[in-house]
Amino acid sequence: MIARLDGGRISTWQAVLLMVIQVAGTSFLVIPAATMKYAGADAWLASLAATLAGLGAGWIAAALARRLPGLSLVEYPVALLGRLPGQAVAWLYVAWFLLSDSTVIRQGAELVTAHFLPETPVAVLLASFVLLAGLAVHGGIEVMARANAPVTLLLLLSIFLLMVFSVREADLQRLLPVLEGGWRPVLRGAVPPAGWLAQDVMLGMLVPCLRRPGDAGKVNTIASLLTGTALTLIAAWTVAAFGPALPRLFVFPVLLFTHIISIADILERLDAVVLAVWVMGVALKAAIWYWSACTGMACLLGLREYRPLVIPVGLLLVALASLSAGNVVELSDYLGRVWSQVSLPVFEVGIPLLLLALAALRGGRPRAGAGRRPPAREAGRW
């Protein structure tokens, strides 16, 4: 269905980059703070542990895709649980897409407000993000994939450059002693990044649009390892440059790197560059979830087109993003404490695992009619 709603097809590498931005778009900004709250200097170990969650969640999505080819995350429940309970679960997923996306947009807007445009009303920034993401969603998956490739590469490059330029201030000894408090705080600190990395379950929405759906497993492995490595590095580097305590004073600690970078008195105050790259990253991440919500909804409603939903869903997203938290304190608390603890066991691992178990019990052959391989390219694009 998803494949019919969006006629576009993306290559394996485009899918990898989409999956990377899908996690990295926001998590680089908030992960060090959320993780270090519990894991302290071992934040990098927590990120490393969380990488396993990403690999696992993506693996479940890939395994489901192999057993139910042509279907997506919102169609598996219907195919496996039957019509009514299946629809109910699928709608829960759509709601989860919307709620999660609203926090993504809100984070982007709060970042811009806190650091760069303090006098601009948050609503304007929210609307701008949604407009930008909405245009991408309206363009379809191919447009998103093509727009995303340079953005993801720039984002990874900007992380790399922030690390290289701050090498004079980084002292890897600050990572010692390792595991001072044992594994418990590390695992507790791994929950927020695990929640973000396990967003790899969203592969289940992209997989019908893959030119080679058989590559789903490969997409997950590469994307999870790439994102996990980058997150681990940035967590380690944050501790190396700022110690385990100082970053906890800040909402977006990664932005502090621009304060201490000074190469030959010329290359400094790179804030604007970082902002440009990360705003694009947040917008694309938002677009992927936005697209998933629209196509998922169209699929469940049996619509032939998802594009008429782009504007109403966009308006809904602006409203939800405004409502998602009363202020930045609530937002941080919600993301660090609540979102991951609900998403990880329920939407990212729990339900998918249950569905996979059902699919396996049923013997792997999809029900007649449910698993048509998608035609290479559908006519009648809008």
């Binding site: 806190a114 650091h115 760069f116 601009t120 000894q173 700022f242 100082l246 304060h259």
Partner: protein, 415 residues
Amino acid sequence: MGRRLAHLAARTLLGAALGLALAGCWNRREVNEVALVSAAAIDRTPEGRTRVTIQLIKPAALAGGGDQAPGAGGPRAIFKVAATGNTLFEAVRHLNHYVPRKPEWNHNNVIVFSEEVARSGVGDLLDFFLRDHEARLDQWILVARGQEAAAALDAHWELEPNSGVAMRLIYRRGAINTGEIAPVRLYDFMLALTSPTRAPLAAVIRPFLPGEERAGLETRPGTTWRIGEAAVFRKDRLAGWLSDREVRGLQWLRGKVVSGIIRVPCQNPPGEGIGVEILGSRARLVPEWRAGELPAVRVPIRVFGKLGDLMCRDDVARPGPFARLAERTAGVVLAEAEATLRRLQRELGADPLGIGEALHRAFPREFKGWKERWDEVYPRVRVIPEVTVELSQTGISVGKPVPRAPGGGGAGEEP
């Protein structure tokens, strides 16, 4: 056809809307609308309120060009304003009762605390500089010793019309060129302050004391302030001072002396000096501990240098004496390091070197016990500097003394 027209109209409108957004109406501030803060000084009034004095840049005066020498009759490129408030931020906002533009903190160079403020604790005052989105972590921290902080902003520095910039440059370049200033930005200060054991530092800004100009350097009327020494904090409160030489002792132990001169006493005639130019140094902390004992920290220090000036008759340009000169230089470095350690451990009980952090890393389990009574443990940790000096060259001279009349005093007579 109508549909295409509608499309075209929609696109044009969208383009126009983007154009509006790109002009950036909301947070736009033109250069002629801002007041750039160049330096900030924080004092406490007798009633316990916070007084902030800031130095603002007059862009027009800066653009005026070189013919009006700033400070010499012409309009100064900077001016000073002060306001008082119950909190720092409130004080800053009170400035706007008589400053027509809103101060911008992005380019602030230095934050000067008065000695009194430093003694009663700077933590709460730093919060503003960490929270405000304009302020950055690369502002340099100073303590005005025995002075009001605001007075430091009046100090006149040659070559730089903007005294905030002058203070920053002296702070940073002086740290490199002399080794007698420990460079401390807000970033460095906060790294120490958020550590459980490390003591923050800040350089001292103060007027020359009477008679000091003669011993130190020639001064011109007006250039009467200096930056050097260090204020040592315990947590966020000023605990005591380090002299220039003690700061260099600390910088040896940190391996952060980049340049400077070591004076090694002559043997012939005694009392005069050989100047060894420092080319760099390296150090690391090697914690050691045996059960039942207090921990020790070895500090291997490597100093690289060359013969800078030879103001005596010592013939050092032979392998044996040259090697012995290196050993004698090492002795001087060792003495400086040990003097600093005595002061830090016995007198101030402050740990700017990071002895506690080194022990924490090496012996995490045992450190838990030490940390609880750190104030007792720290002065008793044996810190053992081990200095090796590597002299590589004698400059472009071969290293022999320049001939002079027998018995003559030379230029380097010491009182």
